[in-house]
Amino acid sequence: MKNDSLPVLLLVLLVGAPAASRADVVFLKGGSKLEGRVVERTETSVEIDIGAGSLTLSMKSVDHIEEGRSPLDDYDERAGALSANDRDGWLELARWASGVGLGAQSQWAYEHVLVIAPEDPEANRALGRVELDGRWVTEEEAYRARGYLNFEGQWMTPAEQDAILRGREADRATAQARADRADAQAREAEARAREAEAQAQQSTAGIPLYWSTWGPGPSAWPSNPLDRPQTR
C-alpha cells in the first residue's frame, strides 16, 4: 500500500507545485507594492504571503492586484533545482536573493550552506558570524568571549559600564541636591518612563537608519512580518 501511494503523492506534489508558485503583486495607492502570493482575498481585505510571513491589508488601501511572476518564484524554482549538497549552488542562490532584496531567503540559503559546510567563510560572514580563535561564532559570543557585556544595546567592557553607572549616580546625586525630594523623584520617574519607552521603541524598531542626503526613508530596518505581525 505504501509503495503504491508514493508515486501518487509525488505526482500530487509536482502537479501542485506550479499552483503554489503563482505570484501576485498588490499595488497600494501611492505606488507602494507587495510582491508575493495572495493567500486570501475578500471584498474588504487581502492577505499576501511575502515569503517571510503574511500581511493582511484593507482593500481600501489597494489600488489594484496583478498576477505575475516575482523573485520569490524564481527563488523557489532555483532552490528546488539545487541538490541539497551543492554548496556553490546554494552560495550563488544566497548572493542572488540578497541582490534582489529577498533578505530572508538569502539568509535561509546561507544557513543551508552552513549545514553543508559549517566553516564556509562567506556564509558565516553573511549571517553576521565572526571568526574567533579559528572557529566561527556569533557576534554576541565573540564579544562575550572577549569579556564585553551588552549594556543598553551597546557592547562595552565592565569598566566602561561601571564608569557610565558611576557617572549617572553622580548626576543623580547632584540633581537631588539641587531640587527638593519630591521634584527629584517626579523627574526621575519621568526620565525612567521615557527611557523605558525609548528602549521599548528601539527593541521593536531594530537598527536605526539615517538616510542623510539620499532622501527620506524608513527610520529603522523593517522587521519581518513573522517577527512582528502587521495587520490592518
Binding site: 507602494s32 474588504t44 539568509q107 524608513p218
Partner: protein
C-alpha cells in the same frame, strides 16, 4: 611718546587686519566652493539638472539589504522607494507636502510626514548642493582643516537659509565633498549623523558619489547606499510626487 605711536600703530594694524581677514576668508570660501563645483562637473552642468533618477542597494548589515530608488525634481520634489522582501515603501514630497506609505511598518495608506521630517526631506531634494549658495541665502564659513580617513580636508560650516546647520568636509586634493555632519533631533534625543561619500564617478559629465554611508557619530552600525544607476533629466511625471487620495474600496 614712543608708546603712544606704538599703540596707534597697533590699533591701525588691527583695524586693517579685521576686514582684511574677513575678505580673505570670503575669498577662500568663494574659491574653494568654485573649485568644488568645478570638480563636480561645473556649474553649467549642475544647473542643467532638471530631474535626477537613481537606483541602487541599501545595506545595513547581514541579511539587511534593500533595493532603493530616488527620483528628484528640484526644488523640493523628491520620491524614494525602499523595497525589502518584496514589499516596497514610498516616501515623497511635492515641494511642500511630504508623505509616505510603508507597509512593513504598518502604514498601508498615504500619511503625512511630521513637520521636522518634511523640512529635512525637502532639504534632501536639493541635489544641486552648494551651487548658487549665495543666491539661495546660505552662509558658509571656513573652519580650518581636518584629516579624514587619512586625507586632509577643508572643514566648512554651512548654514542653510532655513536655519539648519551642517559641517561639510571637502577633500583638499579633489575639492569633492567627502563627509557631512548634521545634527538631527529624534524625539527628545539629539543625534550627530555622519555621512561619508566615496566611489566618485562621472555620469553625464557630473561627478556623483556612488557610495553613501551614514551612521550616528561614534556608532559602528551604519547604512550604506550603493548607487548602481544614475539618469539625468529622465521624464518624471509630477503625479509621482503628489500625495494620492484614498477613496472607498474600489
Amino acid at each position: 611718546m614712543n608708546g603712544q605711536y606704538k599703540s596707534a600703530g597697533l590699533l591701525l594694524c588691527l583695524a586693517l587686519a579685521g576686514p582684511t581677514f574677513e575678505v580673505l576668508q570670503a575669498q577662500t570660501v568663494d574659491s574653494l566652493i568654485a573649485r568644488h563645483l568645478e570638480a563636480r562637473g561645473g556649474v553649467h552642468r549642475l544647473e542643467a539638472i532638471q530631474t535626477l533618477s537613481m537606483s541602487g542597494r541599501a545595506i545595513a548589515g547581514p541579511g539587511q539589504e534593500a533595493l532603493v530608488t530616488r527620483e528628484v525634481r528640484p526644488p523640493g520634489r523628491i520620491r524614494t522607494e525602499f523595497a525589502h522582501q518584496g514589499v516596497t515603501a514610498v516616501y515623497a514630497c511635492d515641494g511642500s507636502r511630504c508623505w509616505y506609505v510603508a507597509p512593513m511598518s504598518g502604514t498601508f495608506e498615504p500619511e503625512l510626514m511630521s513637520p521636522s521630517d518634511t523640512s529635512l526631506a525637502i532639504e534632501q531634494a536639493d541635489v544641486l548642493g552648494l551651487s548658487d549658495w549665495k543666491a539661495k541665502g546660505h552662509r558658509i564659513e571656513m573652519m580650518g582643516k581636518e584629516t579624514i580617513d587619512g586625507k586632509e580636508t577643508y572643514k566648512l560650516k554651512v548654514t542653510l537659509s532655513g536655519g539648519a546647520v551642517y559641517t561639510a568636509y571637502l577633500d583638499v586634493e579633489s575639492a569633492l565633498l567627502v563627509r557631512k555632519e548634521r545634527t538631527r533631533t529624534l524625539g527628545d534625543r539629539t543625534i550627530e549623523v555622519e555621512t561619508t561619500f566615496g566611489d566618485f564617478r562621472p555620469v553625464g559629465g557630473v561627478v556623483f558619489p556612488h557610495s553613501i554611508r551614514s551612521s550616528a557619530k561614534g556608532q559602528s552600525e551604519s547604512l550604506e547606499v550603493i548607487v548602481e544607476e544614475i539618469e539625468i533629466n529622465a521624464l518624471i511625471d509630477d503625479a509621482r510626487f503628489e500625495m494620492p487620495e484614498v477613496g472607498p474600496v474600489g
